[in-house]
């Protein structure tokens, strides 16, 4: 009989041991730490509802522990468990809302354009010719320029730069000067045929950007050219 009584007392003490205030305070402290951690990582913004629930459960559990002083703690246990559940939910929600780091692709080295002016859209004005060493348009050039006028009227939103080039014959400085004059001649033509001056600029590139071999006649002819660069 004595053995039975001793066994009963021991069992009761063992079951109470799990509900001692110190154990609960440690659990409560764990909940508190978890809440502070998620608060510190922006939980108020990414999971306001879940965080508030966890914190309210913590306060309520703290009250229950203080009120009952270590006895009848099942309510506090439930509140702590519920608080931890809310913390987990907050953590999951915040993890979802965190932007996935974007790995920027390594920049692919781009070869410098041979023409020297970007890879913008270029409208090649084939058929534009000038009198030798002059900036005067030949009669045959007008058809090409009228086509250019049509293109610009059809695309009123674009601005263009008239880019004139020469072959490598003669001095580079002269070629640059001459190409500048020719570019301006084309620009004036476009403006005089109804293209708004604000949409057209002109630049002479001289012999600096050949597209063909300057050693042959055919190559030189190709290099003497006028283009419209869409801006």
């Amino acid at each position: 009989m004595k053995k039975l009584i001793l066994l009963t007392v021991c069992t009761s003490l063992a079951s109470c041991a799990g509900h001692l205030p110190s154990t609960q305070k440690s659990e409560l402290s764990g909940l508190h730490s978890a809440i502070q951690k998620i608060k510190g990582s922006g939980g108020e913004q990414c999971a306001p509802s879940e965080l508030a629930k966890a914190e309210a459960k913590e306060l309520h559990a703290a009250h229950e522990i203080d009120e009952h002083g270590g006895y009848n703690m099942s309510e506090a246990d439930e509140l702590i468990a519920s608080g931890m559940k809310a913390v987990k939910a907050a953590e999951a929600k915040c993890a979802k809302s965190k932007p996935v780091p974007v790995v920027k692709p390594k920049p692919v080295p781009v070869a410098k354009p041979k023409r020297g002016y970007t890879d913008a859209e270029v409208i090649d004005l084939k058929g534009i010719n000038f009198d030798s060493n002059k900036a005067t348009l030949t009669a045959s050039s007008k058809d090409t320029l009228n086509s250019a006028v049509k293109i610009l009227k059809a695309r009123p939103s674009i601005k263009v730069e008239v880019a004139a080039h020469t072959d490598s014959g003669g001095k580079a400085s002269y070629n640059e000067y001459l190409s500048g004059l020719r570019a301006n001649t084309v620009k004036d033509y476009l403006i005089s045929h109804g293209i708004d001056a604000s949409r057209v600029s002109a630049k002479g590139y001289g012999e600096a950007y050949p597209i063909a071999d300057n050693k042959t006649r055919a190559g030189k002819a190709k290099n003497r050219r006028v283009e419209l660069i869409v801006k």
Partner: protein, 79 residues
Amino acid sequence: MKKILFIIAMFSSANVALADIESRAEAVASSVEGKHDYHAEMARELVSIAEEEKGQHEVSVANAFMSEAEKHASIAGEK
């Protein structure tokens, strides 16, 4: 007779306190209506606890939670 009056007074003061918590709960709920930031959510949670405590006739505890709820409600939506 005195005892009866005392008991009635006790009941009526308890009822006033409970009614006060109810009206404060309504005020908090209305002030955080449509707000979903942390403080608004906190105010709602604390009101809920206060009402639960009120249901157990823990008036002083309910009042304490309600005060905390009101503090959060006053901050809610300010950011």
